[in-house]
């Protein structure tokens, strides 16, 4: 009899094919229309592209070799690529793109759009491509570190809106300590401690006192801004030489790899902080998805009670994850001063922490996704500077808005498929 019932319950009805719900269809059409509008802008730009040559300068190292620059006829290339974007947009609008092919096609869409734009903007001029890539990496480094910090927190179920505050604290601590001790390494260590300090406040108030985490994040940003500003006003400002002259980390070329044209210059002729960022991406990804601790972090972020019932200390794991995030965010903060500008100024992070938060969400709470989103933001920010130099018709203030507008578009367009960890932002109460 048992056999009979076993076969009954394992009914062999075929798994139904997936269909599109009305909500899903609405979302696809919305996204498709949006993409089509963008593609339309691309076509317009292409149509107004001067029929000249656009030069993408690659490398100073190879001045006379054929690799020194890529020269393209601006108009035909722009038209062809604009056509690509229209094709992808239409494909999504009519059929819907999904899966790996979808990801690939969207990447094509993005790349084609960007190059179309560059052809229009730099027709008849030289666009310094290697500069663009190096700048992208530099601007993206703190964003990536910040977003990784967010990934660690939020995978464990604690929303981190305070990345900006961690940046500020880290940047300040790095600048002052590096100047006072004369050691950049000491500065970086100080930044890590400062990042952890803000993280500890986040953890205690969110986990122990169950304060609403979005509120908490905003307040911590104000707090960090206030306290770094106060200390800066009180004793750093008047005595820059004594407290605020840390210098900048110098690039450490990696032997062999750094001599690869373009790639080597971009990725392997960087400061130790940038190499640390590479390591952080790899480590966070590995730890979250391949280790015991990572499994537990994800469990407490998705279903803390389930984790509790199998004997996992939910609060302890959350504390650990938030503090680990503090370490990473502190590194990101250090980059602003000792890795890049060489000095602290009030609110010098200028909202990059919030951009890192956006990268985290656009990257769907995945370390690699967040990294790609951060690189995208770094790219647009660098582009703005580059285009100012080669004097394009677009005012730089408008380009500066690009990452923010892109985020709005992405959040509005992608939502629905994007899912935060289930228990993100919910304090855990036993019993």
């Amino acid at each position: 009899m048992n056999d009979a019932t076993t076969t009954l319950t394992r009914e062999t009805a075929p798994v139904p094919a997936t269909l599109e719900s009305p909500d899903e269809r609405r979302r696809r059409i919305r996204m498709g229309v949006l993409a089509l509008v963008l593609a339309g802008i691309g076509v317009l730009l292409a149509a107004f592209t001067a029929p000249e040559t656009v030069t993408f300068a690659l490398s100073g190292q190879l001045a006379d070799s054929p690799l020194s620059a890529i020269k393209l006829p601006a108009l035909p290339v722009a038209l062809a690529l604009a056509a690509c974007t229209v094709a992808v947009a239409l494909a999504h609008l009519l059929r819907g793109l999904s899966g790996r092919l979808g990801v690939l096609l969207w990447a094509v869409f993005g790349l084609a759009f960007v190059v179309t734009f560059l052809c229009w903007a730099a027709a008849g001029k030289t666009f310094p491509l290697t500069n663009q890539l190096q700048g992208t990496l530099n601007l993206a480094t703190p964003l990536i570190l910040g977003a990784l910090a967010g990934v660690l927190c939020e995978r464990a179920g604690v929303i981190n809106v305070a990345i900006e505050g961690q940046f500020l604290a880290g940047a300040f601590a790095a600048a002052v300590l590096a100047t006072v001790t004369g050691s950049l390494l000491a500065g970086v260590v100080a930044a890590v401690l400062a990042g952890v300090l803000i993280a500890a406040m986040l953890a205690v108030f969110a986990i122990r006192y169950r304060v609403n985490q979005v509120v908490l994040g905003v307040v911590l940003v104000v707090f960090a801004s206030g306290i770094t500003g106060f200390l800066f006003d009180q004793f750093v400002k008047g005595e820059s030489a004594k407290f605020n002259n840390p210098g900048v980390m110098s690039a450490v070329p990696i032997p062999v790899l750094s001599s690869i044209p373009v790639i080597g210059e971009t990725f392997f002729r960087q400061t130790l902080l940038v190499y640390t960022m590479y390591a952080a991406v790899a480590i966070v990804t590995f730890v979250l998805f391949k280790t015991r601790w990572g499994l537990r972090v994800r469990a407490v972020g998705e279903h803390p009670r389930a984790a509790d019932t199998v004997g996992i200390k939910v609060l302890r794991v959350r504390y650990q994850a938030v503090l680990a995030g503090g370490v990473v965010a502190g590194l990101g903060g250090a980059f602003f001063t000792v890795g890049f500008t060489g000095g602290f100024d009030k609110d010098l992070t200028a909202g990059q922490g919030f951009i890192a938060l956006a990268a985290l969400i656009m990257g769907r709470w995945h370390p690699l996704g967040a990294t790609i989103a951060a690189l995208f933001f770094g790219f647009t920010q660098q582009l703005q500077g580059q285009l100012q130099i080669i004097e394009t018709p677009i005012p730089s203030e408008l380009l500066i808005m690009a990452p923010y507008l892109a985020t709005v578009v992405a959040v509005a367009g992608l939502v629905g498929r994007v899912r935060a960890p289930k228990a993100d932002g919910e304090p855990y109460v036993k019993g």
């Binding site: 108030f205 006192y209 104000v222 707090f223 206030g226 500003g229 106060f230 919030f354 923010y404």
Partner: protein, 376 residues
């Protein structure tokens, strides 16, 4: 201790005291002379205690006198409180509908931009011009906020991200327009607009910077109170804020509620922007918003997202700002200390359990839960 509001008042007061203690510690450790006396604390304690007491009491005395020591300081407190109350009301209103409006800053900029433009671009009769400029401010803020509500309603995008991003877009838009003919003062190369016409300025109380905008703010408080407590629209906003699923099941449109809440919240922040440009600043600059938009979030939190509470919180923060300026002038204690104080107050208030633990206040009931995570 029995009534909830008494308890909350006690907790709020305790939080202010705690924040002042934190501030005092900061003053002591950051003052090189005072810190030096602590170096020999164990050989001669009175020096350190005396120096610390002097530093702290000087700073706080000038803070207090600068905020409340006479009609002039009080009027300055009211001036500072005016935009905080309005923008704080916007944040509060959105909270009640379950929305985190981090975007008061952007909405305020949009409002100031529109109000300022109407204020200096036209020549109109006295009352008409002011009303029109005010309406433009409300409109600008409402558009900037309503956009968020609409996007949230239509696509489900999270308002925290949208508002943060639109804050930057508004700022850069203003910066850009200030370099174009639309806003830039003729003959100037720096980003500054012409001065708002007299006809569009809020009349001042003679001898002070206090302007009619303060009364407008109080009117806004009354209007928001009525909306939330007595209107069917407010009933819907509160229901959606407390339980959107149940509200939807009861036939309410959640999307409509979000849109209305953000339109109104934006209009209130826009009003704050109009008050800034028509009441105190007169020309538009890219610093028109100061940090009012961000401070208004903390004001709303301190005010427990209620209209009356927001007024009280706005006045407290206004006093801190006005007093902080005097403190900076007289004792060289940086104004940024008030930012720390404000953040600390809100932090303590958000964690009532902590304050109760420090002051051993009996715990009863639970704190207000505003909204949840990204998935909400």
């Amino acid at each position: 201790m029995s009534r909830p509001w008494v308890r909350e008042l006690v907790v709020s007061f305790a939080a202010v005291i705690l924040a002042l203690v934190v501030g005092a510690v900061l003053i002591i450790v950051s003052d090189a002379d005072v810190a030096a006396t602590w170096g020999y604390f164990f050989s001669y304690p009175p020096d350190a205690l005396q120096a610390s007491w002097t530093a702290v009491s000087d700073a706080y005395t000038s803070l207090f006198l600068g905020a409340l020591g006479g009609w002039k300081p009080i009027s300055e407190t009211l001036v500072q409180a005016t935009p905080l109350i309005c923008a704080g009301l916007g944040v509060s209103l959105a909270f009640r509908a379950g929305l985190f409006n981090i975007g008061a800053q952007g909405q305020l900029i949009a409002g100031a931009l529109c109000a300022g433009w109407v204020g200096f671009s036209f020549e109109l009769p006295v009352v008409v011009h002011l009303l029109l400029a005010l309406a433009a401010g409300l409109f600008g803020g409402a558009v900037w906020g309503g956009l968020v509500g609409l996007l949230k309603a239509r696509t489900g995008a999270h308002e925290v991200i949208l508002t943060i991003m639109l804050n930057y877009v508004a700022l850069y838009l203003l910066q850009w327009l200030l370099t174009t003919d639309v806003l830039q003062r003729p003959g100037r190369n720096d980003p500054i607009s012409p001065v708002v016409e007299q006809t569009a300025q809020f009349p001042n109380w003679p001898g002070t910077r206090l302007h009619l905008g303060f009364l407008v703010a109080l009117l806004a408080v009354a209007a928001v109170w009525w909306l939330l407590a007595r209107s069917t629209t407010g009933f819907q906003l509160r229901a959606v804020g407390a339980n959107p699923e149940a509200a939807r099941t009861a036939g309410m449109s959640v999307g409509r509620a979000y849109t209305i809440a953000m339109l109104a919240a934006g209009a209130l922040a826009g009003l704050a922007g109009a008050q800034q440009v028509l009441g105190t600043d007169y020309p538009l600059t890219d610093g028109i918003a100061g940090s009012v938009g961000f401070d208004s979030i903390t004001v709303a939190l301190l005010g427990r997202a209620s209209p009356i509470g927001t007024v009280v919180a706005g006045l407290v923060f206004g006093a801190l700002n006005a007093g902080g300026l005097q403190m900076q002038l007289q004792t060289q204690t940086p104004l940024t200390l008030t930012t720390v104080l404000q953040a600390t107050i809100v932090l303590f208030i958000a964690a009532p359990a902590l304050v109760r633990a420090v002051f051993r206040i009996r715990a009863e009931g639970t704190g207000t839960v505003l909204a949840k995570g990204w998935n909400a």
